[in-house]
Amino acid sequence: MATLQTRATARIMMSPAVILLFLWMIVPLVMTLYFSFLRYNLLMPGTEEYVGFLNYRYFLTDPAFFTALGNTLLLVGGTLLITVIGGILLAIVLDQPFWGQGIVRLLVIAPFFVMPTVSALVWKNMLMHPVNGLFAWIARTFGFAPVDWFAQVPLFSIILIVAWQWLPFATLILLTALQSLDGEQIEAAEMDGAGPLSRFIYLVLPHLSRAITVVILIQTIFLLSVFAEILVTTNGGPGLQTTNIAYLIYSQALLQFDVGGASAGGIVAVILANIVAFFLIRLIGKNLER
């Protein structure tokens, strides 16, 4: 009796969150799906009609889509490469005892708390500016020609900014994992004559593998939809050089008012994200059982 009652109470306690989240997920998604089969442009109200898979055909055969897909992959891949490798190195350094460790840790995680629009604008204007920027000054001091970052390597510039924002995340998680490494094991290996490199490859790296997977998956989810950094620095340009899927859909919806086309793009983005999410959910679910 008591358990029945508790169970009912539990259900009532859960229902507001569950119901709202369900509505939040399903209503817009169904609407997106519905719009994606319509010809629907906000500039031509009243001309909506069912067009089948036409929007998908347009979206998926548009050269802009492949450019954007390529840019998205480069952005995600490049950022992951920098943050994971940098994160491992940083975590190892921060794991060593040294003076002022706590303060350095605070300095290293700081970029994560800077809002995307601020970090993008500060980097673009004050660091990467081809004439007055700090990087240009450093380059000139050493006798090199300054790089015009957003004109010559626009996507790489954005990768740098995004990597700066996410490096703390990777470092913090890898450091947490590193700290749970058994010190005695390392000592034993050291006594057996294992050098630093083989200790790293055979002991540290396997121990970190799960944390690395978590970092890669979670960052991928967020990096697939990088938006603000692109909006405030390049607006997707020059040309389409920094347009990723998220930005492409945004420009189709809110700049060209093509609701149907943008919705088809949205569904494609959802499918792409779900492929990643599938693996992440399984990984976290496995962890939950323990």
């Binding site: 306690m13 997106t32 719009f35």
Partner: protein
């Protein structure tokens, strides 16, 4: 001998560690320093690092020119409001899942997590149209609602992992001593749950404060929080580096300090308990 080696090693790592820390932190430090320069010194070559005439004029200008205070208020209302609303929804839910789990609890948790994986652009169009039709565009209320739903899965998950750690025996003991459900909640559970709730709240205020997809797409002049306000500097106004720096410094300082305090909880919250 061994001791001197460790001291030497420590010294080396002190130098490496501080250099890296300084490099990574430098853009923030640079923003902070530039905010005290005049526009002229801000763009000077060679750059002025410390020995310039420090001025507070940019902070005055930013406020007087663009009603900075309004955007700060928007940021506070939106981030704190969405967090409190999220907690109100999530505390009962996480509580029920932690203390009377059923076979389906795990599925519900995983499903909640999966909603977080949905890319925002996937629902941008319908949400924009709903907001337009309901007159919620550029309103704080609309943004509070959206950010609540966006962060709800994280809040539930974090609270769940914290509540899970409260030993169930304590509840049983209290029940045996004849405590009613209300008393149980007030005297036994609340004190044990407060630290977890507090760190969840902190992390979520940070996340909501920095959210920059919905805030950019659903606001204009009125409800724009700091993320959207700063974005307006991407226009030629971005050439005013000192003012951009002053606005940026004020926008990131409070959240940076909060973030430093919550660094321990950060890992747990952002990995959904997968790494502790």
């Amino acid at each position: 001998m061994a001791r001197s080696v460790t001291t030497q090693r420590k010294l080396i790592f002190t130098i490496i560690g501080w250099s890296i820390g300084f490099l990574i932190f430098f853009p923030i430090l640079w923003t902070f320093l530039t905010s005290f320069k005049t526009e002229g010194t801000a763009v000077a070559t060679p750059p002025q690092f410390l020995f310039f005439d420090w001025t507070l004029e940019n902070y005055h200008e930013v406020q007087s020119r663009s009603d900075y205070g309004k955007h700060v208020m928007n940021s506070i209302v939106i981030s704190v409001g969405s967090t409190l609303l999220g907690l109100a929804l999530a505390i009962p839910a996480a509580w029920a899942m932690a203390f009377s789990p059923t076979k389906r609890t795990k599925d519900i948790l995983m499903w909640m997590l999966s909603t977080k994986m949905m890319p925002s652009v996937g629902v941008l169009v319908p949400l924009y149209l709903i907001f337009r039709d309901w007159g919620l565009l550029d309103s704080r209320l609309g943004l509070v609602a959206v950010l609540t739903m966006i962060n709800l899965p994280i809040i539930v998950w974090m609270l769940y992992t914290y509540f899970k750690e409260i030993p169930g025996e304590i509840l049983e003991a209290a029940r045996m001593d004849g405590a009613s459900l209300m008393k149980e909640i007030i005297y036994v559970l609340t004190p044990m749950a407060v630290p977890g709730i507090a760190s969840t709240m902190l992390l979520n205020i940070i996340l909501a404060w920095n959210e920059a997809f919905w805030t950019l797409n659903l606001t204009a002049a009125n409800a724009a929080p700091l993320t959207a306000f700063i974005a307006s500097y991407s226009s030629p106004e971005g050439l005013f580096w000192a003012k951009l720096s002053a606005a940026s410094t004020m926008a990131i300082a409070p959240i940076l300090i909060m973030g430093w305090f919550s660094q321990k909880q950060l890992v747990r919250g952002l990995t959904f308990g997968a790494v502790k």
